[in-house]
């Protein structure tokens, strides 16, 4: 389900939100708490409906009025969103400050810096904190000279950006205000009478800015963009116009420049680690001819596209094949096409895929593409991201040689896979956090951890964080496996056990499991066994299949989880991989 509430009135949103809330179970929700020094009750139904109707299940609670720092002490599992409205430090502050001496302004600033520091420290262990950048626009937009209020806000923002902890996501609300316009963002009548500054229209726009952040938190960030060719990557129809005549460059006449801008945007996504693919009803050789003819002129090269399904099959079939070959879920895909027919077909048959139609008015195309960049937002870029396309390209090459082998073990051995295992190695901790947030299919508990949470976990005496780095004769996969286990009493408890889908199918998971069990029994520990607590989700059936196949004993718990037991007799594969334990 994906809903755009642009055309819905405030009362419709309240009503639809109530209906939707009645259908969603509480245990599946993220809890959001809004801390603020202005009246914000109207934001609750708007954020809830905006996120819930786009499959990010949440419940919003509005904190006490004007008690931000104190309430931040009580945050536990919630994700706080902070609206700190400086114009409402006290009644009329935005006007009175213009009469203050510099000394008084500096004292006030120092006071707010101290409060910000308290907030940073109180919320440093939260999964994520959403903080709105301070704004002066409501009280200075029509003034030519820079007011003291504007300067004050700029100094606070400078301090905020340079001192905020890593788990703070800053939203530039001036962007929301510019989208809505000043007049439509603010309701000054309600501000002066009830401290309610913002309009429902502003909240609708603001809610959209929350989507990328919450997609990241919930592991729903998109991974792959699949593009049509004609009138999507270039202007014209290659089968009719010819590879030499389609328009795609800034120097081309007509619509070429729009496609040049699009190529720049797609290249930036590619370099961030987003997978690019092509699905097009064309002759394969025509498309390849375009890339070879324009090898120096085109920003995008043939090899930038990991998979190309250029044929006359239905596009839904091709898209399913792409997800299958890349081993990613269908809802990780974004599909872009100019045709009404193709977009409707994919929306109908694979609603999980975000299908986006190229705007009919081409001047809107670049901003349309900037907008879909949000779908791929990651707040935690790691070095693996920039290498991801190369890794998938290696993977496609591997699959090509796979057909030469009848026995899968022979194929695995031919890859000369090296598995390096690390214990409590913290230099790659950002990647570990990213793995917990992005891995959905082969993930035991789907617990999402921020860097600070992982650091806290490792600091506890009985906890061990075991990670995997994998490479083979085709290249490196990087850090692609993670386990957090704690050795307590008679049992070892596995809290997190996950592997990136990129490395599955090579029996590395079997070796990983075997090494974890060996590790648990090290130093002659007398354990009765190791317990893997499987928490089912709609996506993590692959790990359940693995556990079902490998464990001889399991027990279903009342909450729906399943405990799988292993002991030291567990042994699975026959030296398919070169395993190296790396010491800290």
């Amino acid at each position: 389900m994906s809903t755009n509430m642009n055309n819905m009135t405030f009362s419709e949103i309240i009503s639809k939100n109530n209906d939707l809330n009645n259908k969603i179970k509480n245990e599946n929700k993220i809890f959001i708490k809004i801390l603020s020094n202005i009246t914000l009750h109207q934001i609750k139904p708007i954020i809830e409906y905006s996120l819930n109707s786009n499959d990010i299940l949440c419940s919003v609670e509005i904190g006490e009025y004007d008690n931000i720092v104190k309430e931040s002490l009580e945050i536990s599992i919630e994700i706080p969103i902070i609206f700190w409205e400086i114009s409402n430090l006290y009644d009329g502050f935005a006007f009175e400050i213009e009469n203050f001496q510099i000394k008084k302004i500096n004292l006030l600033k120092e006071r707010i810096f101290l409060e910000l520091n308290s907030l940073f420290s109180n919320l440093s262990t939260c999964k994520s904190v959403i903080f709105n950048k301070f704004s002066h626009l409501g009280f200075s937009h029509n003034l030519y000279e820079k007011s003291k209020f504007q300067k004050f806000i700029e100094d606070l923002n400078y301090y905020l950006i340079n001192n905020k902890p890593k788990n703070f996501e800053v939203i530039e609300i001036d962007k929301c205000i510019s989208i809505c316009s000043i007049d439509k963002s603010f309701n000054f009548r309600n501000f002066y009478s009830n401290k309610s500054l913002y309009s429902p229209l502003f909240f609708k726009t603001y809610s959209k800015f929350l989507h990328p952040i919450f997609r990241c938190i919930t592991g729903k960030t998109k991974k792959c963009i699949v593009l049509d060719c004609d009138n999507t990557l270039w202007s014209g129809i290659i089968g009719e116009d010819g590879a030499q005549n389609v328009k795609f460059h800034i120097s081309d006449t007509g619509a070429g420049m729009y496609f040049y801008f699009i190529s720049s945007i797609l290249k930036s996504l590619h370099d961030k680690g987003v997978i690019l693919c092509i699905v097009s009803k064309n002759n394969y050789l025509d498309v390849e001819e375009f890339f070879s003819l324009n090898i120096n002129k085109s920003i995008l090269k043939s090899e930038n596209f990991i998979l190309k399904k250029i044929n006359w099959e239905n596009k839904d079939k091709n898209l399913r094949e792409i997800a299958n070959e890349l081993n990613i879920a269908l809802d990780s895909l974004v599909f872009v096409d100019d045709s009404d027919f193709e977009i409707d077909l994919v929306r109908k048959f694979i609603p999980e895929i975000s299908s986006l139609q190229v705007p009919k008015q081409l001047f809107k195309y670049p901003h349309f593409a900037i907008d879909y960049k949000n779908l791929f937002f990651s707040n935690n870029q790691t070095k693996e991201d920039s290498k991801r396309n190369k890794m998938y390209l290696d993977s496609v090459k591997r699959n090509k040689i796979k057909i030469n082998y009848n026995d899968v073990n022979d194929y695995i051995k031919s890859l000369k896979i090296k598995v390096e295992i690390f214990e409590n190695e913290t230099t790659d901790i950002e990647r570990y956090s990213q793995l917990t947030q992005k891995t959905n299919q082969f993930n035991l508990s789907t617990k999402r951890y921020e860097i600070t949470e992982l650091k806290n976990l490792i600091s506890l005496e009985n906890n061990h964080l075991i990670s995997l780095k994998i490479s083979d004769s085709f290249g490196e996969f990087g850090t692609t496996g993670l386990c957090i286990l704690s050795l307590k009493g008679d049992f070892a408890f596995v809290d997190t056990f996950l592997m990136s889908c990129r490395v599955l199918g090579r029996k590395i998971e079997h070796s990983f499991m075997q090494e974890l069990i060996k590790f648990s029994y090290r130093k002659k520990r007398k354990l009765k066994g190791i317990i893997f607590n499987y928490a089912p989700t709609t996506k993590n059936a692959p790990i359940k299949n693995f556990l079902d196949q490998t464990s001889e004993k399991c027990e279903k718990l009342e909450n729906g989880d399943i405990e799988y037991f292993y002991d030291k007799n567990f042994k699975l594969n026959n030296k398919l991989h070169n395993i190296i334990w790396k010491k800290n």
Partner: protein, 75 residues
């Protein structure tokens, strides 16, 4: 117009249509408190494309008050 206003009351206060009558006033239903009042004002202004002054906001205390004032403004 009465039908539209009734529908806004139903949506904003999450109540059954049968509860809405001309006599329905602030405080009669749990959701019509001071914050609920701001919600109904916002929703009515948006849907009828009108604006209330501060004084009018204070004077609007019942469904009938809303109906009467909206009638004046849109006619």
């Amino acid at each position: 117009m009465e039908k539209k206003l009734t529908s806004i009351f139903v949506n904003v206060f999450s109540i059954e249509e049968s509860i809405v009558s001309n006599e329905l006033k602030m405080g009669d239903i749990p959701n019509w408190d001071s914050l609920g009042h701001l919600n109904i004002i916002t929703a009515v202004e948006e849907e009828f494309e009108i604006h209330f002054t501060n004084d009018e906001m204070i004077e609007l205390k019942s469904f009938q008050d809303f109906f009467d004032l909206i009638s004046t403004k849109i006619n």
